[in-house]
């Protein structure tokens, strides 16, 4: 977090480091006493204490209570963590994009990743919120907080639900540590090993990873530009009796599709007929130019559970998600979150999000993002078409383009070739439960501006055919 200016403490630390470098002090040696070294350096004893404590925190020296400080016998080399950088030889499975993009070094280009570049996020508002939080009362900084999470953030969310015509009462809302944690809690609450869960094909790859962790059977329903293929959906419900359906209604990941009113209505009727519960993951909702049909609004949180987070719009570092559902389910989810996380999400995280949202700049930030993304979608689509790569549809918003490769294209082979050149792509089959998306690839238009993306992609394509 930035280098500190030169200080007396820093001088004392540098003096000890120099003695270690010159071998005047080696492993196991006792450091000069605090009093004597303070005299040597012409500083106060408290300055030496602070310097020794910092060196101890770095692992260079160790304190033995009541006996003083000693040079660590085998201090860890500073680059030891480099040994566990992302492995590139792993299978192209639902973890592939996460592994390669979450642990990527900063030089990696990531048109396959699932988030906006940091300079598209509202860093000034986050910095203001951090400074405001530094002035918060002690309990906000020190205590666990309530089991349902920050009241301030819950109030803001209730206001937003009202704006979307989703009737949510206070006892129907729970904050969670992230959107993924929200879905995980719901799965733990509703599913048992061996249940069947329905997802879109293609769908967000981590739904598959998550459901595998729950040891459930996963079935898919094909996507259309207006939502799931409703005839196939009805047939799967009748034949396989899935317990749960997890989907994005608005700006579906990866396809960018948006649920039509007719599909939403039929889908809910089919769900009612077969007692299916639906998790509507709405994390891309705020990227829409205007709101599309919401299952939660039509259904009124009877069999639909609405979840969301702020990772795509405000910060993925300050993590926070939410669940809006039937009140009796929320009671059960509160207990489950206490059992598995001891309490609600971090008050520091939820107060930060509440502070940014209450600050009033959110709407303007999203207006700006939507305009910027519209340009990026157009530019990226144009570049893709120059390579013969065709968007399956032009989404109404968001940052994904789901694209078909030219005849014979193998997205997995192209992604492997690009990874070798430091570009993380998202090959279609990581999204496809039926593995029928070999010829598709998802592009993040906000992460595709760098010309090297296109050079590498151009090189990777013929090689892969």
């Amino acid at each position: 977090m930035g280098s500190a200016p030169r200080t007396r403490t820093g001088d004392v630390m540098a003096a000890i480091r120099a003695r270690m470098a010159s071998r005047a002090l080696t492993g196991g040696d006792r450091l000069p006493s605090i009093r004597s070294f303070a005299a040597t350096m012409g500083v106060s004893p408290s300055t030496v204490v602070e310097a020794y404590d910092r060196l101890a925190a770095e692992g260079l020296i160790r304190s033995r209570r009541g006996s003083g400080f000693y040079v660590a016998s085998a201090h860890l080399p500073p680059l030891a963590l480099a040994a566990i950088e992302p492995r590139r030889d792993l299978a192209v499975d639902p973890f592939w994009v996460s592994r390669q993009s979450l642990d990527a070094d900063p030089a990696t280009l990531m048109p396959g990743c699932g988030w906006l570049p940091p300079d598209w996020m509202p860093a000034p508002a986050l910095r203001r919120a951090l400074r405001a939080l530094a002035r918060a009362a002690d309990p906000v900084l020190a205590d666990y907080g309530g089991t349902r999470g920050s009241p301030a953030l819950r109030r803001l969310l209730l206001a937003r639900f009202a704006e979307e015509s989703i009737p949510v009462s206070p006892d129907q809302l729970l904050l969670a540590a992230s959107g993924t944690q929200a879905i995980d809690l719901i799965c733990r609450f509703l599913l048992r090993a061996g249940d069947t869960v329905l997802v879109d094909d293609p769908c967000y790859f981590n739904f598959q990873a998550l459901l595998r962790a729950h040891q459930v059977a996963i079935v898919g329903v094909p996507c259309t530009p207006s939502g799931p293929d409703i005839a196939a959906f009805e047939a799967v419900l009748a034949a396989q009796r899935p317990r749960l359906y997890i989907t994005n209604s608005a700006l579906h990941n990866p396809t960018g599709a948006t649920l039509s009113p007719q599909t939403a209505h039929r889908l809910l009727n089919a769900a009612a007929a077969h007692d299916l519960t639906i998790v509507e993951d709405d994390i891309f909702a705020d990227f829409e130019p205007d709101p599309s049909p919401r299952l939660a609004a039509l259904d009124g949180l009877d069999r639909v559970i609405r979840i969301g987070s702020f990772s795509k719009t405000l910060s993925a570092s300050v993590r926070c998600g939410y669940i809006a559902a039937r009140a009796d389910w929320i009671d059960g989810l509160v207990d489950l979150q206490v059992a598995t996380s001891f309490g609600g999400p971090s008050p520091v995280a939820t107060e930060l999000i509440a502070s940014v949202l209450a600050g009033g700049g959110y709407r303007k930030h999203m207006d700006g993002l939507r305009r910027r993304l519209a340009r990026a979608r157009r530019d990226t689509a144009q570049r893709l078409r120059q390579l013969g790569i065709e968007p399956w549809l032009m989404p109404r918003g968001g940052f994904y383009l789901w694209c078909r490769l030219p005849e014979g294209g193998d997205a997995t082979a192209i992604a492997r070739a690009a990874l070798a050149e430091g570009v993380v792509l998202a090959p279609g089959n990581v999204f496809s439960i039926s593995q029928t998306a070999t010829a598709f690839m998802r592009f993040n238009v906000a992460q595709s501006a760098d010309p090297r993306v296109w050079e590498v992609l151009r090189r990777a394509m013929p090689a892969a055919r």
Copy 2:
């Protein structure tokens, strides 16, 4: 987070609120246009935009894209959340203390809770860390961060493990969202429904809540002042073949017991003979005056998994835990954490903890806490004895006293009576898998200074006999 000074934005907000209070503007009415209201108020249009955005964030008004702002038709009353305050009629089960203490109103006294009062925590260091984080690079504030969590914090932890003679290499360490999440991940990784898990009797109540969520059978082994009753431990291993044992070696919760070297050695031998994995939850380690035997140090992370967090020593609001284990298990846990949380713990949280630890004041903070707790243990024990309540042992450190009530005392009845007077106690049976701790109660010495605790306890005791 404190009231804002009077600003032009605040004036505009107040003017709109006044019109709503006087019914000049009511539900569904369109607000004055930004340009016209800026002229009315003599402020810039951007001030009105900000004021409207803040009012929208509060739910008082709503924006319709392209059409302006409208008074919300049914804005939520500010106290709506009061409807979901903690319920007091619930069973005295492993959730009882969590429910009553996490959601308590600030006037509640909580000698039964499991954390230090906020003014015992290092708030100044946390405030400094928040201000430093406000100056961090954009990616720290906006991105998901790596799957294993903050490299800075992992380096600091590796240095601390070296100081404890626990050999941990970088690929054996994973940061998690909290200590509880760390245990939850391990349980998901190692356990299957129907497995048997061994805990101490009594043990931390949330271990039971967590294990119930995993649908495993729970068996207990009685506690002695030097760790589990080793003969009973060996017998349970032979008879029930538990897959996992979860324990605190140092300053056991709730008893305050500390593992002896002999018990540690026999325990590990028994574990090896029956292929038992041990989770050593070391969150109270830093409260010891000097380190007691550690299973992780003796075993070298072969069958022992070490977990910990900073919730008891630095902040329960900035949540962060860690897991040190075999490298192949860590690989599996990394994937499981990606599947269930998408990535590692919040970088904002882990950088804050790293910043406080690297600041060098941690050792001094803990020295002060240990001295303050020693006094509080002595004072609380004296007050308890005046009521005929006897500590089972005087622990070497920490904030718990596990106490036996006078003959005929029923801790559950006393806790119910005290709760009615706004005091949360921790009755013995919430900790006991065999429900044999009716006559015991856990006291948090740092939360017992208020004279009202003793008045309420004195009144509750005869009433409960």
